[in-house]
């Protein structure tokens, strides 16, 4: 297990470095700047002299390599710089967003796993049946939906028409506010998981060892619980991991729509206001989350699949 972690870390660090470099370069060529953006609604009309000084203060006029070197050095010390906009340390700015983000991502993933895996299983156990067809139509429709559109529909149905749930916001951090955004975010992974699970279970059901299990005189239920479940899980875990890892980044749209105070909405806001330190911090956070989840998935593999320990 330590070996897995070690190998993972060896992979993570160059990836992180590359992300830092890439994001830094990408956003350094972005047109517009935080300062000119302050005037976007025509209210600010900042004095040119002040703008000049702010540029200097924010180091926007330094040569690119110098800025990059400074940035990397400060990151290495755990300092992500200060937000242009709030003048707060970016670590704190992001810090308060992480928990809501994690909540949303975990809730969405729980929904996706619960519904998706169940649907996939039910469908695979009766391939070709009505249940199968309905589940898969459901799943493929889920993959064909525009996220913000679906979110709006949820809002209209469950908040406005049925009045079951609040339509937006974080509330007191309770579960009621979490449900709709989690579903909107989770529907894509749910659909994917339903399809993957179905395929995985079908795959396993056709495997030789399942035939062996049947030839032992096992009931179908036992065949599934003793032999199919775990094997299918190995395949499902891969997709869960990939989906899970990228969910924090994918939450951008949902967070914006539902005014959810996560990293994604901070990122979009920061991009549009050209708050570069915050943008870089958010992307770093999202990438870190992706890598962390993938490491966890790798560890989970070791726990589930004995072959991994000896392979590679």
């Amino acid at each position: 297990m330590l070996l897995v972690l070690g190998r993972r870390l060896a992979n993570v660090i160059p990836t992180l470095l590359a992300v830092v470099a890439l994001v830094f370069l990408l956003f350094s060529v972005l047109p517009g700047s935080f300062i000119s953006g302050m005037n976007e609604d025509g209210r600010g009309a900042i004095d040119p002299a002040v703008m000049e000084r702010m540029r200097k203060e924010m180091g926007l006029d330094d040569p690119l390599p110098e800025r990059f070197a400074k940035y990397v050095i400060s990151i290495a010390q755990g300092d992500l710089g200060r937000s242009f906009r709030t003048r707060e340390p970016v670590t704190r700015l992001i810090g308060v967003r992480v928990w809501p983000s994690l909540k949303l991502v975990f809730a969405a993933m729980s929904f996706a796993i619960l519904v998706g895996v169940t649907l996939g299983f039910v469908a695979a156990l009766r391939p070709g049946s009505l249940v199968d067809t309905i589940s898969m139509v459901f799943a493929i429709s889920g993959l064909s939906l525009s996220q913000f559109w679906f979110g709006l529909m949820l809002m209209y149905l469950f908040a406005l028409q049925l009045q079951w749930l609040p339509s937006f916001g974080y509330g007191d951090g309770g579960i009621r506010h979490l449900i709709l955004p989690a579903i909107a975010l989770g529907v894509g992974p749910m659909a994917l998981l339903a399809r993957t699970t179905r395929a995985a279970v079908l795959d396993v059901l056709n495997a030789d060892f399942v035939r062996t299990a049947r030839s032992k005189g096992m009931s179908e239920r036992r065949v599934v619980s003793w032999h199919v479940l775990r094997n299918a899980l190995v395949l499902v875990v891969t997709i869960v991991g990939l989906q899970f890892g990228s969910l924090m980044g994918a939450a951008v749209v949902v967070e914006k729509l539902f005014a959810w105070p996560g990293v994604g909405s901070l990122l979009v806001d920061s991009v549009f206001q050209r708050d570069m330190p915050a943008v870089q911090g958010c992307i770093l956070m999202i990438v870190l989350f992706f890598l962390a989840i993938n490491t966890l998935v790798d560890i989970a593999y070791v726990a589930i699949d004995p072959r991994i320990r000896y392979r590679r």
Binding site: G32, D41, P48, T86, V96, Y156, S167, G169, K256, F272
Partner: protein, 530 residues
């Protein structure tokens, strides 16, 4: 006869007001739930650090400035001072400060706090946006440049008396009512985490900020206006997505909501929702700014032709859904320098064609129009004018950019034309400086306007001490702009705030409708919020 009518009207108004007040006396307690619609987060709760309208929604509740905009009288009033006297040359102002204003930490406000706050804003190493206002005070620039520690134009006479010396003969209220010039307590504001625990003079004190979600504030009991604020709690909820805000408002989760054109129509048509609509002509002028560096636009006739060719009224009526007032010239009607006798450009494609032909473009020309996605002054408007201009032979190539980039483009001047929204009040003189030839492009003269006659009018106005005479000069300047047509005068914004029936005391603030003085707002017991 006229007077009589006026009497009748005012009597009716008074009756209505009386009826309204008789119906309800302000209830103490309850929760006000306002929305912040302009971004997905607040920039900073340190009012000095941010010029954004979004942040001022909260800052108006927690902080106070020397002056305020009185919506009822539609003019500047003293807020933190009880009286002011002005020297004969109009440059020295002596303020008698309030002796009943307390910060949320319990300390009483004194003249030192104003001096400290203004000095902080001028700290050159911080680049606070409010510096452009404080720079009016004599000696402020020296502090900004690091040549002095104190602003020489600020003098404390006693704890409750402050003398301010300014550099130009202008009304300092226009400068010192801006939210970025709020008065802060030194002992709190110099803490590094002030922005997370803001302390001010306002009617509500900070309780909680969930970044990206909301700010919650509580009633400040030692607020200087007796009996105010009414509500126990003030929540400002971030809701940038109009469609989501619509649902939340209909679902009674928020008490106020800003409306776009589409929703304005829907709310007006709804028998229930239509009762809770607050409208105001905001001091924003939406216009298409011509860049004379692009050859056709150097010709006044071409610029006029565009104004004639576009059926602005139709766009306002059908596309903007009457959520705007037709622009006549640059200054909005609420401005004292607005000439009420002026008529806007008529929709006259024939005349436009004629002007184009005279200018040497009988077959029209093509130009690039830079625009943002804004629903009221961006892409949809551009899409609407495209076919109209096509009818007189002008081909429009739209170029979509983010709102953030607009200003930068304007400053660089590499565009051919650009559609945007500009704050055009309340200080008419400052507003018209956007067309003053000595104003650099980077400071707001985005049309590179250069007209000696106009410059002269503005110079005279700046020297004129008498308000009425000054307004006359500004009126002339504004009318001159109309004829020169440096822009396509599109509209003045009509800001629309939808509110729930249980919320009362909202103000129709023409500088920004979301900026409410929350001490005047109260909710009755029908509010679903606790």
């Amino acid at each position: 006869m006229r007077k009589l009518m006026w009497l009748a009207v005012s009597a009716a108004a008074m009756l209505a007001a009386a009826a309204a007040s008789a119906q309800t006396t302000p209830r103490k307690g309850g929760t006000i739930r306002m929305t912040a619609p302009y971004a997905a987060s607040f920039g900073s709760l340190d009012p000095h650090a941010t010029p954004r309208a979004q942040d001022d929604i909260v800052n108006k509740a927690m902080h106070r400035t020397l002056y305020n905009w009185d919506t009822a009288q539609n003019k500047l009033v003293l807020e933190l001072a009880k009286s002011v006297s002005v020297s004969g040359d109009g440059l020295v102002y002596t303020y008698k400060l309030r002796d009943d204003a307390y910060f949320h930490n319990g300390r009483k406000m004194t003249a030192d706090d104003l001096i400290w706050s203004y000095t902080r804003i001028m700290d050159g190493s911080k680049g606070f946006p409010g510096a452009r206002y404080i720079r009016l005070i004599k000696g402020a620039i020296d502090v900004e440049k690091g040549q002095a520690k104190e602003i020489s134009g600020l003098r404390k006479i006693d704890d409750n008396t402050l003398e301010i010396t300014i550099t130009d003969r202008v009304e300092p209220g226009y400068y010192l009512f801006s939210g970025t010039t709020a008065i802060l307590p030194k002992e709190e504001a110099s803490k590094p985490d002030f922005a997370s625990h803001p302390v001010g003079l306002g009617p509500f004190k900070f309780k909680e900020h969930i970044p990206g979600s909301r700010v919650v504030m509580e009633r400040f009991d030692k607020f200087y206006k007796p009996g105010k604020p009414y509500a126990d709690t003030l929540q400002v909820l971030i809701m940038a997505e109009a469609a989501a805000r619509d649902v939340a408002f209909r679902n009674k989760e928020i008490d106020t909501s800003i409306l776009g054109p589409a929703q304005y129509v829907a709310y007006r048509a709804d028998p229930q929702l239509s009762k809770g609509i607050l409208e105001v002509a905001e001091m924003f002028t939406r216009s298409l700014q011509f860049n004379p560096a692009f050859k056709p636009f150097a010709d006044k006739r071409v610029r006029q032709a565009v104004n004639y060719a576009i059926d602005s009224d139709l766009i306002i009526k059908r596309l903007v859904k009457d959520k705007a007032y037709r622009a006549v010239s640059w200054l909005p009607p609420s401005s004292a320098a607005f000439d009420k006798t002026m008529k806007p450009y008529a929709h006259d494609p024939e005349k436009a064609k004629k002007l184009l032909a005279e200018a040497g473009y009988p077959n029209g020309f093509e130009f690039e129009l830079t625009t943002s996605q804004n629903e009221s002054w961006g892409l949809p408007i551009v899409e609407a004018i495209m076919p109209m201009l096509a009818k007189v032979g002008i081909k429009v190539k739209p170029k979509l950019v983010e709102a953030t980039v607009l200003t930068e483009i304007l400053m660089k001047g590499e565009h051919q034309s650009l559609i945007s929204s500009s704050l055009t009040g309340p200080d008419s003189l400052a507003t018209l400086r956007a067309f003053y030839s000595k104003t650099p492009r980077t400071a707001g003269n985005y049309t590179s306007f250069n007209n000696p006659q106009f410059d002269k009018l503005l110079d005279d106005a700046a020297q004129e001490g008498n308000a009425d005479k000054r307004n006359d000069l500004l009126k002339k300047a504004n009318n001159l702009l109309y004829d020169e047509a440096p822009v396509w005068f599109f509209n003045y914004n009509k800001a629309v705030l939808a509110h729930q029936p249980w919320i009362h005391g909202l103000q129709a603030n023409p500088t920004e409708i979301t900026h409410q003085y929350p001490e005047d707002i109260w909710v009755d017991d029908k509010s679903p919020a606790k």
